[in-house]
Assembly symmetry: D2
Homo-oligomer: 339 residues x 4
Amino acid sequence: MKVGIIGLGYWGPNLIRNFMSHPEVKTVYGCDLSDDRLNFIKSRFPAAELLKDYNEMLKKDIDIVAISTPVDTHFKFGKMALDAGKNIWVEKPFTATSAESIQLIELAEKKNLKIFVDHTFIYTGAVQKMRDLVDSGEIGAIRYFDSVRINLGLFQHDVNVIWDLAPHDISIMNYLMPNSKVVAVSAHGIANYYDHENVAHLSVYFEDNCFAHFHVNWTSPVKIRKMLVGGDKKMLVFDDMENFEKIKIYDAGVEMSSKEKIHEALVQYRMGDMHSPKVQATEALSLGAAEFIKAINENRDPLTSGKDGLNVVKILEASEKSIKNKGKLIEINQYEYAK
Amino acid sequence: MKVGIIGLGYWGPNLIRNFMSHPEVKTVYGCDLSDDRLNFIKSRFPAAELLKDYNEMLKKDIDIVAISTPVDTHFKFGKMALDAGKNIWVEKPFTATSAESIQLIELAEKKNLKIFVDHTFIYTGAVQKMRDLVDSGEIGAIRYFDSVRINLGLFQHDVNVIWDLAPHDISIMNYLMPNSKVVAVSAHGIANYYDHENVAHLSVYFEDNCFAHFHVNWTSPVKIRKMLVGGDKKMLVFDDMENFEKIKIYDAGVEMSSKEKIHEALVQYRMGDMHSPKVQATEALSLGAAEFIKAINENRDPLTSGKDGLNVVKILEASEKSIKNKGKLIEINQYEYAK
Amino acid sequence: MKVGIIGLGYWGPNLIRNFMSHPEVKTVYGCDLSDDRLNFIKSRFPAAELLKDYNEMLKKDIDIVAISTPVDTHFKFGKMALDAGKNIWVEKPFTATSAESIQLIELAEKKNLKIFVDHTFIYTGAVQKMRDLVDSGEIGAIRYFDSVRINLGLFQHDVNVIWDLAPHDISIMNYLMPNSKVVAVSAHGIANYYDHENVAHLSVYFEDNCFAHFHVNWTSPVKIRKMLVGGDKKMLVFDDMENFEKIKIYDAGVEMSSKEKIHEALVQYRMGDMHSPKVQATEALSLGAAEFIKAINENRDPLTSGKDGLNVVKILEASEKSIKNKGKLIEINQYEYAK
Amino acid sequence: MKVGIIGLGYWGPNLIRNFMSHPEVKTVYGCDLSDDRLNFIKSRFPAAELLKDYNEMLKKDIDIVAISTPVDTHFKFGKMALDAGKNIWVEKPFTATSAESIQLIELAEKKNLKIFVDHTFIYTGAVQKMRDLVDSGEIGAIRYFDSVRINLGLFQHDVNVIWDLAPHDISIMNYLMPNSKVVAVSAHGIANYYDHENVAHLSVYFEDNCFAHFHVNWTSPVKIRKMLVGGDKKMLVFDDMENFEKIKIYDAGVEMSSKEKIHEALVQYRMGDMHSPKVQATEALSLGAAEFIKAINENRDPLTSGKDGLNVVKILEASEKSIKNKGKLIEINQYEYAK
């Protein structure tokens, strides 16, 4: 296989390194407008073939075009690649609007090409382990999902902190709850420094008795990356800042004999053992690359396809409308499919 | 001074012990309908004088009536005490509605009696230290305030998790930002078990460029009690689960040369030293009792007066309207006064 | 039963409270030379009968004398009580010398009286859980035992930091390894401030392939209370500063195909799941009191008898000889008995 | 400058990368007996010139030979390089015996060549900050030094855990206390798996009122890298497992009005604020390489010279004699020089 990468900024070298080390990949092309970046990449990856012109790259006999550019160019570059008959790998978030996502998905389907959206976290050992735990039934039905991703982080020029940080956590939530349908979204926050919010809170309502919340912040003095998944059997905490013991499963919960009237109910609290399973440490990006190549070979959608990208974009898009209106509730329709 | 306490449940013994150990308090009366509680209190505090009839207690020559009963009875017991010419100490939250709060405040003013609302946290060494830091100007203007108070905690029969847990944090916020005016509130959450929410998120909008958020949860497997205060000079973290180093001040921040257009601005990130000041360990409740007695002697409002109680109740009341309407924005008018 | 307590200092009120709340205890006597302490105790425990004269107390019809005085008086007060036909409860460490311990043990046996040494930690949920784990075979054979107990703590007038802090950890070690025989001891440290060491390290050699080390320090800026138990199957960490998850069991270890020559051996490292069992929170002192009363009723040695006290004193005594000689190895013979 | 590296194992690539990126270094040669390693290095560093024969490399016009081979070969390769007129960089520990260290130091002095011993930690921002704090007098005189470095780590074939892990911490201790003279050493431990100890405790006695202890362990289920430095003014904790706040300075201490008799003394405990200074994050190895090149250019000893290497080896050598004799006290004479 041959892979061409457009956009050799912060994430580009990781893409080059991981595709290069895949046994089926023979050649990796790189494309960027900046001579500085091209020179830097050349010094680190002498074997990569580098170009300045995207059209030139599309003429090459490549199987995959990986798009690692600002989000508002994803659609343009993605469409050009699909038109040229290439499968596409797109960094998160998939596109700037859900309409763009749908157009790319339909175009790819028409041409029998595959789309991979780089929701990298899905390929981490921790998220895979969480999904296993949910699938096994050990957690029970998920009652609430709570995510915090805050840091003193780099402000983005073009998007607010939700578009920048929340896609990771939204994609994890969707992956853990494939059968839970999001129906509405509300977002609050503040833009203390310029026109995009640096602190934001996103509430997500589901069709069933479940609720999710995402807290993102570029201006926190401490770095927190923590997720709580409250199941009706057990509860799970994922703390990505821990070097070891990233996942903890608590045999904790509440049981009521009657749901309606608590003063008549027998409430029982349970706080038992905690278990922290070992988590695989393989680099997520390498597993993502392998999955996409495998999906192309098997002529199927990869684990994180365009539809997954679309479902994340729908929530982001709604959050934007909401946050500009102080939390106005925005209803959405998620793409549903049999996983 | 003589003190009478109504409601000898969970918090009652703490009130008895702290009032008894105040040098100016001569007699402490206790009042409860339950013989079991009266017997238990008698065995632990043989010197306390115990009664079953609240009317009997009000006839005694007491200076302070402390009300430690369910919130929906605060108004009734408070009004009776004020009518009988007693100063009142009321557990948080002050009353079930803001109308009740206003009525008690006006009644007390008319009769020149004092109201103390037991926002205990205000009297902790940690909150006093935070207020000092804010007052000194070291933190700068507060940009955002973020609070998390979650636990596997006791469900309340009569109120949701916001009414139960958030008063602590709202009172701290109000105390740290006496000049910031809250203008609107939005609350989201879910009631997984019965009709009151067990998970909730409260967003608070201010007149100026500031934003606050409160996350409360009765069904978390881990106990977190953490506050972030983002100033435009420094940032502060208060972690109440730490035995030592409860407060950390970070010389961290973001500076922009131009507010409007980030792509033209020079953004500078600063992450310098951290400082953790020593925090006084005196029991907050004992300092609260001393403050109320002093305030009565000096014929002035205590640090946590009925007006502070009212401002918390206004936010709780609005949160209730909001959470039942999926985060509908509810505007409020806070009581303003020169502190 | 009737209990008399001599020494109403720091620990005395805990003894009074716990014996008083035991259903079989009818009367608790207290004895102290200080009028201030007697008055303080009277105000907190009006039901206790207080005396100044120890001889007077011994004349009372009491079953247990609890000795909570400086260690160099334990022998004198213990012997008087045994001579007067009373069972004795002695605070740790048992006595100032092993000869004193032996004399008390023999006297008690002759008179069929029981000795309880207050190694309180043995009765904590955490230590009971650790013993269960060792007994179940899950940990395997213990290869090493490592304990750290450091703090900015109160200097003792009469003994060094080993005599003050290490008895807790030595008693736990002995309890977890009833069949491992200590054969020699070496201690290092420094006395920075006066003639008793404030920092000390105690190494303990066993008959078999096991080693233990104790680090104690009165002058550490941070408080650490942590134990590592390295088994050849699993490894255990006990962190007493944790509010939750005090005990963690790691499925970790090293396996070698040949013991003698590592360069020829196949070494395998294993780092699997971690498990943190729930630990009972009942107050240890109350369980200790209950055990002693039960042991007297059943005419048997309690779980922490004079012999357990003696084995701890033997190690302390040897450590003293060693530390004054810069770690000179001191051989010892532990009392052995079928547990 | 030209640099030749012998031994391209685990640490070799780091040496190549750091020397290559130094602006004064023109060529980097690499030398290893293994074709596999040479091929691997070639693929990662195409610009490096690789050889199999060490003698060939010594014939090149190189200024520095960096020796990254097993410790028992350091002397042989170091002597060959010095004989060939090259400055030498030697990985820690410097040599297998102090006699070898002395011989290399004398040979280098005779030929006016420089020796750099790679005590990398000395060049970390954390250790530099600690030295600044000690030099400034803020910590006061150091009373004790306590270091823990434990992990489930790779067993070494040829040396025990002290030789493997303690050189880091001993070099830091020596660097922080240049005027404190070590006079004796005692080591305890156990070899649970083969003939070299996997758990060890090293006590170090000084001429003055100071004491140091090192705890190293290859078989701990948890990874701890922590240092306590107890000064008579303030106390310092260095926790290398923290991502942020690696260094904490505690305004804590003990003061006595009389040293001799504690029961007559007025003891005062102080526990004030804590301060965590920002620590530079520049890669230590790059700063080490820069220091050595600068030292050669300025014809002076580098910060971590052969004499520093010798002083560490003297302690290691003594620890070996001690641990094989259950902690027998071994006296040593450290090399003294005006820093």
